[in-house]
Amino acid sequence: MIEEDDNFELPLRAERETLTLDIDGWEGPLDLLLALARVQKVDLREISILALVEQYLAFVEGAKALKLELAADYLVMAAWLAFLKSGLLLPRDPEVEPSPEELALRLQLRLQRLDAMREAGARLMARDRIGRDVFLRGAPEGLRVVRKPAWEADLYELIAAYGAVRARTGPAVHIVSRRPVMSLETAIELVSRMVGARLDWASLESFLPEGLDPLYRRSALASSFLATLELARQGKVALEQEAPFAPLMVRRL
């Protein structure tokens, strides 16, 4: 990007009588066209597009003569302007849409829009800016917000906490309660017997005896599952399950 000095002002470029061939100074063909237009007339609504085209083409020719390397977009614009010029000069062909006059008008409008924004930018930069023209308080005390925790706890938490402390530190008496379990050996025996008694697929749960204590039933189910896996490994049963959590089906092999 081109760094401009800070008192960049719009008319500067236009005030020059002749244009130097400093391609680096132009931000593209539209920028160059705008500068040429401003040399021609201050009021962009009054410029002659034909004259502008001539100036641009002359500029590009000049650059070529000096063997300056022009960026491709400058040449593209030159070609388009040459096309526009011939359109403007030759007898009008009503078939061609849009008309050369309309294209010229659009170019003029485009230059006006760019010019408007360039001027707006300059006017923005010339405003009273904080830190350059106006200044904020140098050493503000600041509006401090002191955060004060509002502690929360309720009575249940309080007594539960005390209970936990006492339970934790009081003499602990550990009683290991005996839970009814089915051993793996028992389960293998059970499953082998049940499978042997049936020919078709049957769910694993159907092997468990009725009316078991719920805790013992859970243990029996877990052990029976292990048992079927073991039997399947030994090639004695086949297992099948249609979907996750569907009943596990068992059959003798």
């Binding site: 593209g28 829009r113 200044f135």
Partner: protein, 189 residues
Amino acid sequence: MIDEDERAVEAALFAAEASMTVGEIMAAVGARDVRAALSRLREHYAGRGVELVERAGRWHFQTAPDLAHILRRTREEPRKLSRAGIETLAIIAYHEPVSRAEIEAIRGVQISKGTIDALMEAGWVRPAGRREAPGRPLIYATTPAFLTHFGLGSRRDLPGIEDLRAAGLLDPVDLAMEQLEVEKDETDD
């Protein structure tokens, strides 16, 4: 005579590290008639070395612009913008919300990656969603900090914006421009 509301608002704004909305001032000084106090304070400070100003709904004290020459002496310039940066900022401010392609269409050149980044870093420009158009391009708008920095009460205070709008120079980048691009491309072949 100065009243308590005015004193409180004056003290809060003096002490504040950033400009404040009426709501923030109210939160700081309690239930007071902040609006009335602000308007009396603004009047009181008018013409003094320090002024009370409102920017984008936020209030702050600042030194009077005509005293810049006294204060500037020892201070560094605020961030310098490239010419591309200035133009891009102007286009975003006057046309917002605007996409990168629309900025490029107005400037007639591609903008380098760093240009919008620098404006965002300065806190003057922010992404403002996407345009509901093919490609859903990101669109940009200015921030309250932009208005504050450039001393604008609101976007309506942008220099000459009404004249430009009346002249049709702020209309959405129109089809005519796109067509111009198409023509250019065709002659390119």
